[in-house]
């Protein structure tokens, strides 16, 4: 086709691309923290709550996991104003990502919780610990340890999946790339570089989370010679 590649144009706009990448990172980390908190609450409610609470919790988890993030974002950004709730684009993006992540997080934590030996829980109860403390120390922490790899994977999946927030005008890396390529007519070059940035971010996130794991969850047994 005789297409002449001009990556210099991309280089000129690198600061804008990086600003978009920064927002992607901030949205992802924010959604991870909020989503994980919510996931813990959901898991507690599911494990210890009454039937009236369990039903909606399960319904929420199943609904969020079986509908696309993009449609969830459309509802948050375009549908809610009809009932008077008007969220900004970046707010809707953060909320949407967090709510979505919470559902997956809850499922992952449930799997992690099942790995906790029942005897531990029984022992803690026998010691007279209250339900929430039993949950926090005996169930949750070991569950997080087991679930960590899956949660880390889910973080990377979410960060990559966050590219759809561009459709509701949040100014993430994808949005910045789209705007730049439509004004400079250098579509291929910009998409190529942006894809590379995403790949680099996924790699860095993966490495960082691996390091964090070793720091957060040091080996349980330390054998010391006398």
């Amino acid at each position: 086709m005789g297409y002449v590649f001009q990556f210099g144009v991309v280089w000129e706009h690198l600061p804008e691309l990086l600003a978009g990448a920064l927002l992607t990172l901030r949205l992802s980390v924010g959604a991870f923290v909020l989503g994980l908190l919510l996931a813990v609450l959901l898991t507690y409610a599911r494990g210890y709550g009454s039937r009236a609470v369990r039903g909606p919790v399960v319904a929420y988890i199943e609904f969020m996991r079986n509908t696309p993030l993009l449609v969830q974002l459309f509802v948050l950004y375009f549908s809610l104003p009809a009932i008077g709730v008007r969220l900004g684009a970046n707010q809707a993006a953060l909320l949407g990502l967090a709510l979505n992540f919470a559902a997956y997080g809850a499922e992952i934590l449930r799997g992690g919780m099942q790995a906790v030996p029942v005897g531990q829980i029984e022992a803690a109860n026998a010691l007279g610990l209250r339900r929430w403390r039993v949950f926090r120390h005996v169930v949750l922490m070991p569950a997080l340890r087991v679930a960590y790899p899956a949660l880390a994977s889910q973080f990377v999946l979410m960060m990559l999946g966050s590219s759809v927030v561009s459709a509701i005008s949040a100014t993430d890396l994808t949005a910045v790339t789209n705007t730049l390529q439509s004004t400079t007519f250098r579509g291929f070059e910009f998409y190529f570089v942006a894809t590379g940035i995403y790949l680099a971010m996924a790699l860095a996130a993966r490495a960082g989370l691996d390091v964090a794991y070793r720091w957060l969850f040091p080996p349980l047994l330390r054998l010391r010679s006398a």
Binding site: F7, S153, T183, F185, G187, F192, G196, R206
Partner: protein, 269 residues
């Protein structure tokens, strides 16, 4: 996702990069697009279906609108069966360049920037880009955009012109298609939006409660069909077609039917 895989993925990306920037393969020469259309009796034309009144989805689920009707007439006069290639605003030119469509008839305003990548035919319509918004939003001129949130669609004339006219402190918000831009305006997510005057009128007419009105005009432009730069013979044919149908009033009739406005005198390109 193992880290090893991601690293190897980076290597794969690098390999593709090298392949991409190597010598690009040439398109098969020989048959011009016009010849191919006449031989196969088939032509593919872009259809932007989220851009009132140029292109919408009619109540029968089929594309309708001024550019859609123009495309139908063009295909009929070519003697070819028409296949619509549904595109969003950002895909109008890429679909043409990638060969998914032969002709782009989707209210593409004629600009010198676009002319670097596509070849425009003689214009067959005119439009103006306006800023529109609800009555309660006070915008009398470009200066009033400061401190307000303005929605624009990517890859459109409004994206190319409004940012230049916007003062510092304007928050510009970009969507991938005209539909979401209109939705953002109607749902109150933005204070105003940039779009063609016809689209603004269409939105206002269909939503009397929203009280959408035109605030001011940003620029005017002529729009025309676009083809790939190599398709000289097709471009000449379309130029001739526009000339004939301007003269016999067909283009004017289509234009007035969908926009409610008389077709202004059209210059030649």
């Amino acid at each position: 996702m193992e880290r090893r895989n991601l690293l190897a993925g980076g290597g794969a990306a690098g390999f593709l990069f090298a392949a991409a920037t190597g010598p690009a393969s040439a398109q098969t020469p020989g048959l011009s697009t016009l010849d191919r259309i006449q031989r196969d009796k088939k032509v593919r034309i872009t259809a932007e279906v989220d851009s009132p009144p140029f292109g919408i989805i009619g109540s029968d689920g089929q594309p309708d609108g001024s550019e859609i009707a123009t495309a139908r007439q063009l295909a009929k006069d070519l003697g070819a069966e028409l296949e619509f290639v549904q595109v969003s605003a950002t895909q109008r030119i890429p679909a043409l360049l990638a060969g998914r469509a032969d002709i782009a008839v989707s209210s593409l305003s004629i600009t010198t920037d676009r002319a670097k990548t596509v070849a425009f035919c003689a214009p067959h319509g005119a439009l103006s880009i306006v800023i529109c918004g609800p009555k309660k939003t006070a915008i009398a001129g470009p200066a009033d955009m400061a401190g307000k949130r303005i929605a624009l669609t990517r890859a459109t004339l409004e994206e190319a012109t409004v940012p230049k006219a916007a003062p510092k402190g304007t928050e510009l918000v970009f969507f991938d298609d005209i539909g979401p831009t209109i939705q953002a305006l109607l749902s109150g997510q933005v204070d105003a939006a940039g779009m063609s005057a016809f689209a603004a009128k269409s939105v206002a007419d269909r939503n009397p409660d929203a009280g959408i009105e035109v605030k001011f005009t940003v620029t005017t432009a002529y729009y025309g069909a676009a083809v790939r730069q190599a398709d000289e013979s097709l471009r000449h044919w379309i130029d001739t077609w526009v000339f004939v149908n301007t003269h016999n009033g067909v283009l004017a009739a289509i234009y007035e039917k969908y926009t409610g406005v008389k077709l202004p005198p059209l210059p030649t390109i």
